[in-house]
Assembly symmetry: C2
Homo-oligomer: 501 residues x 2
C-alpha cells in the first residue's frame, strides 16, 4: 500500500525541518530509504508522456528526474523529466503542502529521481518549455528515490544547445570531451536519447529486412589465431601462453558460412581496427553490420539486396523515428536524407569523369581521397538529387586480394562501395571463390600463403559464387542524421586516445 | 539466355571424352568456367525444396551439391542436396544424355556444386532417402559450377549418424575435433544447418520479444581500460602503447545506460573469459544475450520480464522451428523441452532442503557445484515437471560485490540464476545503485576502489533501482536441444586449446 511506503520515508529529513513541530505535511515528503525490494506495493506509476488532458483531475504517482526547480514565494515549480518527456509540477503551500515541504522540494538537487503524487490539472496557457504542454501536476507528496550530487559536471540544457545559438548568444555549450567523460549524463539529453533510439532502430530494421529476405543470423568469433590481411592495424591479445588477434572484420567467417551452405547470412558485432587515425569518422572499435550472400550468376544480385536493405532502413527510420529525427535536428539542423528507388549505381570510371570535369586530376587506378569522396557526393547530389548511391567497379589495384577481378577488364574488379552524404558507409565485392585464383591473387599481393591456408582451404570442397559487404553502424547513424562526428553516434567511443568510460 | 552460358562450358572436359567424336550430347555437360559475373542470364533456378508433384513434367534448372552418386549400367543416380533438402536425379543414356555424359556425371566429386537442367517426374514409389520423396529429376544438362576436391576430410553421412547406431552397427561417426577442424563441411550437415538456424531464431525471438516490451538495443564496447572485477580471467590487449582488456560482460555499460535513462536495454554480443576451463560447457568467447532494466519497487518485476522473455523464446522455437528440432533429434534423441507459465521460482533455501533430502550435505552459504546443480534439476523435474526454473535469493557470500543484499536477511541477496535441463543459463541480480553502499560492498570484497571509480561515479547523479542478467546463447541452444557439448552450438568455438578455424 502506498501509505506503508510513505510512512518509512522520513529518516533523512533535515534537522531544521524536523524541529518545526507545526509541520502538518511532514509525512508527505522526505528522502526515501534505498529501494532494496523490501516490498511489492501495488502503486501504479504513470508515464510522463501519458500526462495529458485525458487524465485531468486524476491523482497519479509519477517517478521522474528533477530537471529544473524554481522557488517563488510559497510555490515551487519543478520540471520533471522522464527520458525525452517532461512536465511541469507545482508544489504550493496549502492543504497538502506545508512551507517546509515547499522548501524541501525546492532544495532537491537537479537530476535526482523522485516519486511524486499529484493531481493532473489542465492549464489555461500552454507550457511551451515542456513536452506535456496542456497539463501540470499539483504535487501532494514528494519523496526522493535517488539523490544526485549537488554539482553536475555538465548541464543538460547546455548539452542540447545548438552550436550556433551558443556562439551567437554567448551561451554555454558542452565540448565533446566533457560529454564523453560524463557520458552517463550526456546520454540523458533529448538529443542523445533520440540518436541511440534511432540507432537501435537501424539494427532492428537491418535484421527485420534480412530475415524477411531469408537470411540467417550468424555469430562469428572475435578472437582469431592469425591476422588475416598481412597483420597491419590489428590488435594483439594474450591468449593463455600464446598470442591471438582481434578480428578486423567477420568476413572470412561469413564466407565460410557461405561455403557451408547457409547461402545468405548476416551478423552484427564489434569490429576492431588498430589504426592510429584521429579523424571525425574513425573508431578503433565499431559495430559492423555484415552481409554475405551466394548468388546465381552476377554479383549485382547481391548489390541489389544490400542496397534494398539500406533503402528499407532509410524508409523505416523516416516512418518510425520521425520524432527522433526532429529532436536531433533541433540541435543539429540538417536536410532530410534523400534516396532513390532503385538506388543509383555509378561506375568508378563515370565518377572519375565527373571529378575530372570538376577539375580534379586523378589516375584511372587511383583510390578516392576523403576530400574527393565528399566532392563526388556533392556532384552526385546536384546531378541526381540523392544522398545515397553505389559506386561500382573499383580499380582492382586498390582492393584486397580476395576481390574478384572483372573478367572483361583486368584493371577493374567486381567491387563496390556505398555512400551516404558523400561518405563511405559500406565496402564490398564479389569474392574469389576459386582456391587456385585466390592463391594467385594472394601471391600477387605478397601475402604469406601459410597464414591464409585455412582461408583458402575453405573453398576446396565446392564453393558457390558469392559477394557481400560490411556497413559501419555508427557511420550510418551519423550520416543519416547529418551529424559531424562519429563519437556522437557511439555510446562509449574508442579511439587511439580514448578508452574510457 | 541459357544456351549462351551452356555453350561456353566445355573448356575443361576430360580428354578421353573430347576424343569421342560420336558424343551427340557434348554441349549438354562439362565443367563451367568460373562465375565471374560475366553475364546476367534470366535463367530461374528452382529450389530443391520446391521440387514436388506440383512441378511434375516441368523442365527446371537447379543448382545443388552432389551429395552422392551411383552409376549403374547406362544410368547414374545422383542425390542433389541444397541445405537440408535433397532430391534424386537420374542421368540415363537416351535422347538427352550420351554414354559419355553419364560417365561424366558419375565421376563428379561429391560436394561439388552443379547446375542441372531436368524434367521433374513423379515417382511411383516414395524415395525414402530424400526429403523430396515424390519426384525425381530426369537430367538433360549438367555442368559443374564449383568442383570439390576428390577426398573429403569427413563424410556427411557419417557426420549425422547417431552415436548409438554407430556403436551398435560398427559404422563410422565423426569425432569432434575432425568436425571442428573441417567446420565448413561439418556445418553442411542437416543437423548443423538445423542447430544454427534455430540459434538464429533464438536471437530473433529474444529481440522481437524485448522490442515489443519497449526495450532499446545498445552496443557496448568490448575493449575496456580496466579489468572490472579484480582482474582474474581477463584477456589483455595491446592497445597502442598501453594495455587494455576484453570485456568479461557488458554489465557496467548496461548499468550506465540505465543511469542514462534508457530504462530497459538489451544487447547481444561477444563475452570473453580467460578461464582455463576445459569442460563441456565453457568457452573462452561466447555470445551474451544481456538485459538490464530499471524497476519501480521490486526486482521481481525484472525477473518476471526475463523469465517471460525466455518463455517466449521457447514457445517461438517450438512453433517456428519444429522441423529443425526434429532434425536434430534424429541424430541426438531428446525429450521435448518443458516449461511452466508462469515460470517456477524457487528460493535457494528451498533448493537446499530438496538437495539435503536427497542426501547432499551443503552449508547454507555454499554455492551449487555442477553435480548438485544437475541433481537439483532432476529433482525439480520430478517434482514440478519443468525443464526451466528460477533459483532466487542466493547467499550474498557467493555473489559479486555489486549484488544488492536482501534487507530482511543479511546473508541473502536479491540475486537469481535461471536453469535449463539442470544447467545454469543466466545469472542476474538487483544491482546496488547507491554509491555509498556500493563502495562499502567493494571494500568488503577487497576490491581496489581506484579501479572501479568510474563505475561507482556512474551512480552519483541519480540512479534508479535496477536489475538484470546475462544469458549464454550457446548454452540456451545446447540445452533447449538437449545436446551435450557447447562446441556443437558455437559455429567456431574458442576454448583454451582451440583458436581455429
Amino acid at each position: 500500500m502506498p501509505s506503508a511506503i510513505a510512512s518509512r520515508k522520513t529518516q533523512e529529513k533535515p534537522r531544521e525541518i524536523m524541529d518545526a513541530a507545526e509541520d502538518y505535511a511532514k509525512e508527505r515528503y522526505g528522502v526515501s530509504s534505498m529501494i532494496q525490494s523490501q516490498e511489492k506495493p501495488d502503486r501504479v506509476l504513470v508515464r510522463v508522456s501519458d500526462l495529458t488532458v485525458q487524465k485531468a483531475d486524476e491523482v497519479v504517482w509519477v517517478r521522474a528526474r528533477v530537471h529544473t526547480s524554481r522557488a517563488k514565494g510559497k510555490q515551487c515549480f519543478l520540471v520533471l523529466r522522464q527520458q525525452q518527456f517532461n512536465v511541469q509540477a507545482l508544489v504550493a503551500v496549502g492543504d497538502h503542502a506545508s512551507k517546509q515541504m515547499v522548501k524541501f522540494a525546492a532544495n532537491i538537487n537537479k537530476e535526482s529521481i523522485i516519486d511524486v503524487e499529484g493531481v493532473v490539472r489542465k492549464v489555461n496557457q500552454k507550457i511551451g518549455s515542456c513536452t506535456q504542454q496542456d497539463v501540470e501536476l499539483h504535487v501532494q507528496k514528494i519523496y526522493v528515490i535517488s539523490l544526485a550530487e549537488p554539482r553536475l559536471p555538465l548541464q543538460l540544457d547546455d548539452a542540447v544547445r545548438p552550436e550556433m545559438e551558443g556562439e551567437e548568444e554567448g551561451r554555454a555549450t558542452v565540448n565533446q570531451d566533457t560529454r564523453l567523460d560524463n557520458r552517463v549524463i550526456d546520454l540523458r539529453t533529448s538529443t542523445s536519447q533520440a540518436v541511440f533510439r534511432l540507432q537501435s532502430g537501424i539494427c532492428h530494421l537491418f535484421r527485420e529486412t534480412l530475415i524477411n529476405k531469408g537470411f540467417v543470423e550468424i555469430q562469428t568469433p572475435k578472437i582469431i589465431s592469425a591476422a588475416s590481411e598481412g597483420g597491419a592495424n590489428v590488435f594483439t591479445v594474450s591468449y593463455f601462453k600464446n598470442n591471438a588477434y582481434l578480428a578486423q572484420s567477420p568476413q572470412l567467417y561469413k564466407q565460410m558460412c557461405i561455403c557451408a551452405d547457409f547461402e545468405k547470412v548476416f551478423c552484427i558485432g564489434p569490429v576492431f581496427r588498430a589504426e592510429d587515425s584521429n579523424t571525425h569518422r574513425h573508431l578503433t572499435e565499431f559495430v559492423g553490420l555484415d552481409i554475405e550472400m551466394a548468388f546465381n550468376y552476377h554479383y549485382h544480385e547481391v548489390v541489389e539486396e544490400i542496397a534494398d536493405t539500406l533503402v528499407q532502413i532509410f524508409k523505416g527510420l523516416q516512418e518510425r523515428f520521425q520524432t527522433e529525427i526532429q529532436t536531433v535536428n533541433k540541435q543539429f539542423p540538417c536536410e532530410p536524407f534523400k534516396f532513390l528507388e532503385p538506388t543509383l549505381r555509378l561506375e568508378y570510371c563515370e565518377a572519375l569523369a565527373m571529378l575530372r570535369e570538376a577539375g580534379i586530376e586523378m589516375g584511372d587506378e587511383e583510390d578516392l581521397s576523403t576530400p574527393n569522396e565528399k566532392l563526388l557526393g556533392r556532384l552526385v547530389k546536384e546531378k541526381y538529387d540523392t544522398d545515397f548511391y553505389i559506386l561500382d567497379k573499383y580499380p582492382l589495384a586498390v582492393r584486397p586480394f580476395y576481390t574478384m577481378p572483372d573478367p572483361r577488364n583486368p584493371k577493374q574488379s567486381n567491387s563496390y562501395d556505398m555512400f551516404m552524404r558523400g561518405e563511405e558507409i559500406l565496402s564490398g565485392a564479389q569474392r574469389v571463390h576459386d582456391p587456385q585464383l585466390l592463391t594467385e591473387r594472394a601471391l600477387h599481393h605478397g601475402i604469406d600463403l601459410e597464414k591464409i591456408k585455412a582461408y583458402i582451404d575453405s573453398f576446396r570442397f565446392g564453393a558457390p559464387p558469392h559477394a557481400g559487404g560490411g556497413i559501419g553502424l555508427e557511420r550510418v547513424t551519423m550520416l543519416f542524421l547529418g551529424l559531424h562526428n562519429i563519437r556522437q553516434t557511439s555510446m562509449f567511443p574508442r579511439d587511439p586516445k580514448r578508452l574510457t568510460p
